[in-house]
C-alpha cells in the first residue's frame, strides 16, 4: 500500500518535473512545479514526516507558488520563444549531467552502508507525532540558529520594502 503510494507519487513528481521543462507557457511550468511540490509532500508523508509534508504544502505550494503564479499573471508573460541554445550548453551539458549522475549513483551504491538505508513503506504503521520532536529541536537545541535565521529573513523583508518604496 505505502509502496504503491511511493511509486505513484514518485512517478508524478518526475513527470511534473519533465513537464516543467517542456512547457512553453510560464504559467503551465509554474503549475507543474506545484504538482512536483505536492507529490514531494506526499513522499515525505509516506516516510513518516507528516509535519514536513503539511509545511511543504502550506508554505511552498500554497504561498510561494501562488506568488509566482501571481507575478506571471500580472506581467502577462507570453509564450517563450524557442531558441536552439548555445552550442557550449549541448557540448558540456549532456556529458556533465551524465557525469554527475554516475558520480552520485557510484557514491550511493558504494557507501550505502555508511549512509544508512531506508526501507520503503512501514513508516506510517507506528503512530508517533514528530511535531514535538521538531519543536524541541527548533526551540531548545537549535534555538540560536533558528533566531538568527529569523533575523536574516526580517532583514530581507526590510530590504524588499526599501527597494519597493518610491523615491521622493
Amino acid at each position: 500500500m505505502q509502496l504503491a503510494l511511493f511509486l505513484i507519487f514518485g512517478a508524478l513528481a518526475v513527470a511534473g518535473a519533465i513537464n516543467f521543462l517542456l512547457q512553453k507557457h510560464p504559467i503551465n511550468s509554474a503549475l507543474s512545479l506545484v504538482v512536483v511540490m505536492i507529490s514531494l509532500a506526499i513522499l515525505y508523508w509516506s516516510l513518516g514526516a507528516e509535519f514536513l509534508a503539511a509545511a511543504q504544502v502550506i508554505v511552498y505550494s500554497g504561498a510561494v507558488m501562488v506568488l509566482f503564479v501571481f507575478v506571471i499573471m500580472l506581467l502577462n508573460a507570453g509564450k517563450e520563444e524557442h531558441t536552439h541554445g548555445s552550442r557550449a550548453a549541448y557540448l558540456v551539458g549532456f556529458p556533465g549531467a551524465a557525469a554527475i549522475f554516475c558520480l552520485l549513483s557510484f557514491v550511493f551504491l558504494s557507501e550505502g552502508k555508511a549512509l544508512g538505508a531506508v526501507t520503503l513503506g512501514g513508516h506510517l504503521n507506528d503512530v508517533v507525532s514528530n511535531i514535538s520532536q521538531i519543536s524541541s529541536l527548533l526551540f531548545r537545541d537549535l534555538l540560536l540558529p533558528f533566531e538568527v535565521t529569523s533575523i536574516l529573513i526580517l532583514v530581507a523583508i526590510l530590504g524588499a520594502v526599501v527597494l519597493a518604496r518610491k523615491e521622493r
Binding site: E50, A53, S61, A63, M73
Partner: protein, 352 residues
C-alpha cells in the same frame, strides 16, 4: 487483517465516503436555500416559495436549470486552465470535510463511523487544502481573459493569502491547549465539563474565536469581505465568464467552504460533537442509538448556528474598501493573533 475483514473494511469505507459526499452536497444545496430564505426575511420579503412546500425543492430546480444551460466558452480563453479551475476549486472545497469528526468515536468492523479519517495533522491538512484552493480562483480569473475576472481573481488571491496568516495564527492557541493537531483530540480536550470547558469559554480563546471568524469570512470571500465579486465594480468577479455547470461548481465550492469553516469553528471553539451539558445527563436515554445520535445532533446545531451567523452578517454589513481590508488584516488581526498566542502560552506555562 484476513481477506473477508479487509473486504468489509474497504466496502464500509467506500460507503462512508459516498454517504458523507452526498450529505455534504445536499447540505451545500440547502445552505443556498437557507441563505435565500433568511436574506429574504432580513429584507422583509419571502424568498423562494413557489417550488414545493415552502420552496423546499428550489435547490433541485436550480441544479436542473444549471445543468441544462448552454456551456459558453470564451474564444480567447486558455482552454485547459479554464476547465481545470472550477474543478480545483470544488475538489479542494469538498476534500477538507474528510478530516472533520461529526459524531462521537464509534467503530464498527474497524471503521470509524462518524469521521472519514482521523489524521494526526488534521488541522494542518485543512489549512493546506484551503491554500491549494486559491489556485482555482487565481487560474479562473487569468484564463478567462477578461479584465474584470482578472481583477477579481487578483483581489481574491491576495486577500486569501493575507488572511491565511491571521487564520493560522488564531488556531495556535487551541492547538497549544489540546497539545495535538488531530481534530478528534482537540474535541476530546474540550469535552470534560460541557460548555464550561469549550475553548471559547473555559479555554479563554474568545479572542482567537473572533479572529478566526473574521479571517475565515475573508478567506471564503463572503460579505463584508466579498470584494472579489463586488457586483457594483467587477460584474461578478473571477467567475464572470463562467456559465452552466462550471459556474455551479464555483458556487458549490463557495458554500462548501462556508460549511467547512462552520465545522472547523464548532470543532475548535464550541467543542464539536460534545454536548453543552457535559456529563450531567449521561444517565438519561443511555443506549447505543441515542449515544450515537445526540453528538451528531449537537454538531449539526452548532454548524447551523455558524451558517446562520454567516447569512446574518451578509444581510447586515456593508462592504469594506480594499485598503481597509488589507489594513484590517495585517495591522489589526495579525498582531492580535500574536498577542493571543503569547497570552495563551504564558497561562499554560504558569499553570503547567
Amino acid at each position: 487483517m484476513s481477506q473477508p475483514d479487509l473486504l468489509t473494511f474497504l466496502l464500509l469505507s467506500i460507503l462512508k465516503v459516498a454517504v458523507v459526499l452526498v450529505l455534504t452536497l445536499m447540505a451545500v444545496a440547502y445552505t443556498v436555500l437557507l441563505e435565500r430564505k433568511v436574506l429574504g426575511r432580513i429584507q422583509n420579503r419571502w424568498g423562494p416559495t413557489r417550488v414545493g412546500p415552502f420552496g423546499l425543492l428550489q435547490p433541485l430546480t436550480d441544479g436542473l436549470k444549471l445543468f441544462l444551460k448552454e456551456d459558453l466558452m470564451p474564444i480567447a480563453s486558455e482552454r485547459p486552465l479554464f476547465i481545470i479551475a472550477p474543478i480545483i476549486a470544488l475538489t479542494c472545497a469538498l476534500i477538507s470535510i474528510s478530516v472533520v469528526p461529526f459524531g462521537s468515536h464509534t467503530t464498527k468492523y474497524g471503521v470509524d463511523l462518524f469521521q472519514i479519517t482521523d489524521l494526526n495533522i488534521g488541522l494542518l491538512v485543512i489549512l493546506g487544502i484551503t491554500s491549494i484552493g486559491v489556485y482555482g480562483v487565481a487560474l479562473s480569473g487569468w484564463s478567462s481573459n477578461n479584465k474584470f475576472a482578472l481583477l477579481g481573481s487578483l483581489r481574491a488571491t491576495s486577500q486569501m493569502i493575507s488572511y491565511e496568516l491571521a487564520l493560522g495564527l488564531s488556531l495556535v492557541g487551541v492547538v497549544l491547549r489540546a497539545q495535538s493537531l488531530s481534530l478528534r483530540d482537540i474535541v476530546n480536550s474540550q469535552s470534560a465539563h460541557g460548555a464550561l470547558s469549550w475553548n471559547i469559554f473555559g479555554g479563554l480563546q474568545i479572542l482567537a474565536f473572533f479572529i478566526y471568524i473574521m479571517a475565515a469570512y475573508a478567506e471564503t470571500n463572503r460579505a463584508p469581505f466579498d470584494l472579489p465579486e463586488a457586483e457594483s465594480e467587477l460584474v461578478a468577479g473571477y467567475h464572470t465568464e463562467y456559465s452552466s455547470m462550471k459556474f455551479a461548481m464555483f458556487f458549490m465550492a463557495e458554500y462548501a467552504n462556508m460549511i467547512t469553516v462552520a465545522c472547523v469553528a464548532s470543532l475548535l471553539f464550541l467543542g464539536g460533537p460534545s454536548s453543552p451539558f457535559g456529563h450531567t445527563f449521561d444517565g438519561v436515554l443511555n443506549n447505543a442509538f441515542f449515544n450515537a445520535v445526540f453528538p451528531i445532533f449537537w454538531f449539526v446545531v452548532k454548524v447551523l448556528f455558524f451558517l446562520l451567523v454567516y447569512i446574518w452578517v451578509r444581510g447586515t454589513t456593508p462592504r469594506l474598501r480594499y485598503d481597509q481590508l488589507m489594513a484590517f488584516g495585517w495591522k489589526f488581526l495579525l498582531p492580535l493573533a500574536i498577542v493571543n498566542i503569547i497570552f495563551t502560552s504564558l497561562v499554560l506555562a504558569l499553570r503547567g
